[in-house]
Symmetry: C2
Subunit: 435 residues, 2 copies
């Protein structure tokens, strides 16, 4: 076209509003580009605290922020609630679950990860997971319902079965959930006069020979000692073999009588349809070049859990910090293209450390070469999380309520909630076009 034609505004589609996608959208605010953020839910989820929803400590709304509220002042960013049925890299178009077409000049793939059952897909229906708000609320309902069932039973064997909670996977999620349930046992079970506290059994199964395999060994040992002091049984070098109704069979030969097996043993990339041609790294993550781009397609950028990004010690972990840095980096790449400046230097992760909380007042943290445990680590954990939450809500009241409940360890949301299905809402999350 002639030089008199004004430059068309670039269209950017971001698929997924987790830490990576949302960081990218925010960084693109004010740019001369039309940005669409697509997500099947209408909220950004602070996943590191899902286990607190699953133990009735936090409300779903405490860790979920409506995208529209977050994006309110970003006038060039539009929110579009839909699932993604297909990504067509050739035609540069994203098809939603309801058949809508979203064309792009730049595509940011940020669809995160989901539970991995390592080929044993039966486990999906036999265990409970904690990757989404739906799952965390189900887990909360399930935990509370088990207590009610136990309270109504006159049979000791049955009561013990209802009160045995098996957590498969001793990574950060498993450790944090086990610690939270042990606090729950201490503080909430006094409201069940029918039940004695020592009927409840909490077991963590870990395939490796230590908990928190992604952390320095010292921290894994500390986590194990702390959990055991809280009354949690830790079975390391042990795998879950199978789940039958009322029983979990372990690789040690032992069978645990239980109605609750929580799966936190593995995750894999949550890849959308259409990326089959892209090479995969570990956990089915998409291989990218050193600027997070799909090789041969510089307009497709992958961030967060979905991207296999090399670091000195293997791929970067599936955590919020790398995702956010990558999201901002992706935005920088797009801005450079818009302004026709040189590409930024290759992506480099600035490691800010990792941490996990264990029950109340204990945590482990690996920060800037330091290894913290106990109360100092817990204070570090609380500071980071409060800072992040308050940053989102920017409301004194959240700080007050959350801090207050957390310090008192109240469990104010102890509800077994059912939600009536609504076809109009269901349609938004539809994965196939409605007839």
């Amino acid at each position: 076209m002639g030089s008199a034609t004004p430059a068309r505004r670039l269209r950017v589609v971001i698929v997924g509003g987790g830490f990576g996608g949302l960081a990218c959208a925010k960084k693109l605010a004010g740019a001369p580009a039309d940005v669409v953020l697509v997500d099947s839910r209408d909220y950004h989820l602070f996943t590191p605290l899902l286990y607190q929803v699953a133990t009735a400590l936090l409300n779903p709304a405490d860790i979920a922020y409506p995208f529209r509220s977050v994006l309110r002042r970003l006038h060039n960013v539009r929110f579009f609630q839909a699932t993604v049925a297909q990504v067509d890299l050739e035609r540069r178009v994203v098809t939603t679950g309801r058949g809508q077409l979203l064309e792009y000049d730049y595509l940011v793939l940020a669809t995160g990860s989901r539970s991995d059952y390592f080929g044993n897909d039966e486990l999906r229906g036999q265990t409970l997971a904690m990757k989404t708000l739906e799952q965390a609320q189900r887990l909360r309902n399930h935990l509370l319902a088990c207590l009610e069932h136990a309270a109504q039973s006159d049979d000791e064997v049955e009561r013990r079965r209802w009160l045995t909670f098996v957590i498969v996977g001793g990574g950060a999620t498993g450790v944090e959930y086990a610690g939270a349930i042990s606090e729950f046992r201490k503080l909430v079970m006094r409201e069940y006069p029918e039940l004695s506290t020592d009927l409840m059994r909490i077991v963590v199964i870990e395939g490796a020979d230590t908990l928190l395999p992604a952390f320095p060994q010292k921290l894994g040992s500390y986590a194990q000692r702390t959990l055991e002091r809280l009354g949690v049984e830790v079975m390391s070098s042990t795998l879950l073999v199978s789940v039958q109704p009322g029983a979990a069979r372990l690789s040690s030969g032992e069978t645990l009588a239980t109605e609750t097996v929580v799966w936190s043993a593995g995750v894999r990339a949550n890849d959308p349809a259409g990326v089959e041609g892209i090479e995969r790294g570990r956990s089915a993550r998409l291989e990218v070049d050193d600027r997070l781009r799909v090789r041969g397609r510089s307009e497709v950028i992958v961030v967060g859990d979905l991207a296999a990004v090399k670091a000195d010690s293997g791929d970067l972990p599936m955590l919020s910090a790398p995702a956010m840095q990558q999201g901002r980096y992706a935005a920088g790449l797009i801005l450079a293209a818009i302004h026709r400046t040189a590409d930024p230097p290759p992506f480099k992760y600035r490691d800010k450390g990792t941490m996990a909380v264990i029950g109340r007042n204990h945590a482990v943290a690996s920060l800037a070469g330091l290894q913290l445990t106990g109360f100092p680590a817990w204070v570090a954990w609380l500071t980071v999380h409060l800072y992040y939450l308050v940053g989102f809500r920017n409301r004194a009241s959240v700080f007050l309520t959350w801090g207050w409940d957390y310090l008192r360890h109240d469990h104010p949301t102890r509800l077994i909630t059912f939600v009536d299905a609504d076809p109009v809402a269901d349609r938004l999350a539809a994965t196939t076009p409605s007839p």
Copy 2:
């Protein structure tokens, strides 16, 4: 039996933990009787604020209190989560949905009310209700989903249809919900840059010739003027004839293009199976004697919405205040029987008035002969509700959060939430014994 036999402790079963049932349970605290409170949910629900959950202003947990938490210090009161399949007045036993048997010496029936479709039961599936927490959450999901659908549509007619909200019934619930949606329109729709505020239409349909037919006429007129000033259309002397997909047909001949018809036009007694032999008053409420007892069965006491209790001007209204007074009265009757003292005098309702809030800063109240409107009525409303909520939670933080959100009119819970079904939790609410 001989006089040497110690008196057996009386067994009291209370069916339903609403305002009436819970007040009765609390009043029986410490009595030499074994009390069982049966409810299909694990929480007491502050129903007057359901409409605020339905407009995303409050979290479900803000208006729902776990029974076990409320009953914690009442050592002779046990909570039993179950539906009731059958009440056998002859054999004096209550059968739960899962076939458990609860024997009683005294039975307090407090099962409340449910929506009444006046014989047109098709409407149940075609409209949305607001009597339970499930329904209020569904309504919130629906309302928010309608906005997303509208935002994704390029068709003006379709957009208007998604944004037309029809509320059938101009009683307190309908008026309060209409006012709340109009506030929602004003404050939340600015987060939908795709939509203009005046696309949203809110219509209240009322069969009588004035709103709030249960209030003095002056207050109904005030409510109508106030709603109209907030941009709500009020159609009085109008009935809903039928609902088709995308349309509501009215008795005026008009058809409204809409995806949302909220039913708040009628309620009837929510009677459990087994009470068929008992005479009925209006709205299928159970007839009782002047001491709230089923005639001929002095051990069966009926309280709250389920009971037809005569007052000077017809039956007492289905409100929390009569239910609570009746619940306490029922406990008094049982205590008199336990202590072998004379029956208390017949039940007499002390009228403390009624109120309804309209949008923000406006309300109507009929209190002790006074008729208040506007800001003074709103302050009265806020005082009573804050007092009640804080009484339940007894936590400074709830007061702070709720008051803060309410005054700022923030809608912090603006989530379209789905909850994964859990068979273990579902079984607690089962209405038929599991196979």
